[in-house]
């Protein structure tokens, strides 16, 4: 376990700091914007919740983790399995912390800031996960974990032909499925399932998909040379 946490610690400290920086700057800019709005008594404005900026970490961190430092990990003596599980710890921790921030803001901070004509929107509200704190936390957590595993996997396989093939397939799905109504329904059904379905189904589906997608990294790791 120590080996896994060491990999995770390195990633937290040395690999993903740019993601924290970007998310931090964006969140700070939004807080400053709110302070100005509030102090000037501006009404009729809408804002995006601060924690939305933390999603940038979930988007950027997997890209950085998968694209840089793999060789360095292996070359300091990390075994491939430890790398696999260590990165998984990163994603679970990111998803948990950001989900927690989302819950705290949605249920404690946003109601305080919201006033007539001043609304704050976050994914928890938009996706309808705000029925209670547990749903808000776990729905968000599972969804973010899925996003992270997909981004990690796609980034990780980009130096192989099947990485490029996967990109082409995604583009084809989006460009072919969207214009054709029957196929669009499939697309809609998929997104409904991972976002808008009943909490248990949504959480279960996202976790299952995240685990399945992330597991494919094992196949790729077999052949990856440091």
């Amino acid at each position: 376990m120590k080996k896994y946490t060491t990999v995770a610690k390195i990633n937290f400290r040395y690999t993903t700091w740019i993601a924290y920086l970007v998310a931090g700057i964006c969140a700070a800019a939004m807080i400053v914007d709110t302070i100005i709005d509030k102090s000037m008594g501006m009404t009729g404005d809408n804002a995006i919740s601060y924690y939305s900026m933390l999603y940038l970490i979930c988007i950027m961190a997997p890209i950085f983790i998968a694209s840089i430092n793999y060789s360095r990990h292996i070359n300091i003596g990390v075994k491939k399995k430890a790398y696999f599980y260590g990165c998984a710890i990163n994603y679970v921790v990111f998803a948990a912390i950001i989900s927690l921030c989302g819950v705290i803001e949605t249920f404690l901070i946003d109601p305080y800031l919201t006033s007539d004509g001043y609304q704050i929107y976050g994914l928890v509200k938009v996706f309808g996960w705000d029925s209670n704190v547990f749903t808000a936390f776990f729905s968000q957590f599972a969804f973010l974990l899925l996003v992270e595993s997909v981004l990690h996997t796609f980034t990780f396989i980009q130096d192989k032909w099947y990485g490029w093939l996967a990109d082409v397939i995604v583009v084809v799905i989006i460009s072919v499925f969207t214009p054709i109504p029957a196929l669009r329904q499939v697309e809609t059904a998929f997104f409904n399932l991972i976002i808008f379905s009943a909490p248990v189904a949504q959480i279960f589906t996202c976790l299952l998909l995240a685990a399945a997608v992330y597991s494919t990294n094992l196949v790729y790791l077999k052949n990856k040379i440091s």
């Binding site: 120590k2 080996k3 946490t5 060491t6 990999v7 610690k9 390195i10 040395y14 430092n69 060789s71 360095r72 292996i74 070359n75 300091i76 003596g77 990390v78 075994k79 491939k80 399995k81 430890a82 094992l218 790791l221 077999k222 052949n223 990856k224 040379i225 440091s226």
Partner: protein
């Protein structure tokens, strides 16, 4: 214990390791000798599970090595590969974090002994010092098998001497299989016990270093005399200057003869002649 059973690794059409069979079981310091491109690094990568064999088997401690199940008992850090740009002290801590058998006290003493500046970041170190850092990390591991790929690359004569002392001390503290790949065979001959010589991915010989020294010599004299003296010997290379001939032999030591002169051959010369003769 390391077992390679007809292991083959190809890169395109080239076999970097070609049906290599090797069995290492004794806790010793092994010298892995080979020219550039002979397959030394590939062999180490195969043993550590960083890459997989296309054919044959690689076993460590009776378990088949796979790229996903990299053997825990093998420690292999390539000096030429990039490292995290941390302070030396942080890099040592990190190495300890990923290796249960890391001897932090030994690493600490070696950092002092080699006057490595702990606060300096890895990238700001000289080439030789970078190599020393990775060598210390490798040797501080008490893993049962330690692989060192060109550990004296970029070292001056003093540093090389210090490295051999470090290697000897590490082995004394914790006897295990240590494989050192190097070109400087005569230097390591003082502490290595066995030589594994490879060329073009094939095993040239795998013998006790003292036996190799005993069996390596050259005969010089008139061409006919040399030919006659070496009739039943394994001659790895021949040289002719007019009617004068030199035969480089790797075989049982022959008794002194009247018409031919017998001279010892350095390990370096033996290897060079072997590879030249083969090519």
């Amino acid at each position: 214990m390391i077992d390679l059973l007809s292991a083959t690794k190809r890169y395109g059409d080239t076999a970097a390791i070609d049906r290599l069979t090797l069995h290492l079981s004794e806790k010793k310091i092994y010298c892995l000798l080979g020219r550039n491109g002979a397959g030394k690094t590939t062999l180490m990568n195969l043993i550590s599970g960083k890459i997989r064999a296309d054919e044959g088997k690689v076993m460590v401690d009776d378990e088949r090595v796979t790229t996903l199940n990299m053997p825990e008992s093998v420690r292999y850090i390539e000096a030429a590969k990039p490292q995290f740009n941390m302070r030396v002290s942080e890099l040592m801590k990190l190495a300890a974090g990923v290796d249960d058998k890391f001897d932090a006290d030994f690493a600490d003493r070696m950092v002092d002994k080699f006057r490595l500046e702990r606060h300096k970041k890895y990238k700001s170190l000289s080439f030789g010092m970078k190599t020393m850092v990775t060598t210390i990390i490798s040797l501080a591991s008490n893993s049962e098998i330690v692989l060192l790929d060109e550990p004296v690359l970029g070292f001056d004569a003093v540093m090389r001497k210090e490295f051999y002392d470090l290697l000897a001390e590490s082995y004394e503290n914790h006897p295990r299989i240590i494989i050192v790949s190097t070109h400087l065979i005569d230097e390591i001959a003082g502490i290595a016990e066995k030589i594994i010589a490879i060329d073009s991915g094939k095993l040239l010989f795998y013998e006790d270093i003292n036996d190799v020294i005993e069996k390596s010599y050259k005969l010089s004299g008139a061409e006919d005399d040399v030919k006659h003296a070496t009739a039943n010997l394994n001659v790895v290379a021949n040289e002719k200057i007019g009617k004068f001939a030199v035969a480089y032999v790797f075989d049982k030591r022959m008794a002194p003869q009247e018409n031919v002169e017998v001279e010892n051959l350095s390990l370096q010369d033996l290897f060079v002649k072997m590879v030249e003769g083969k090519n």
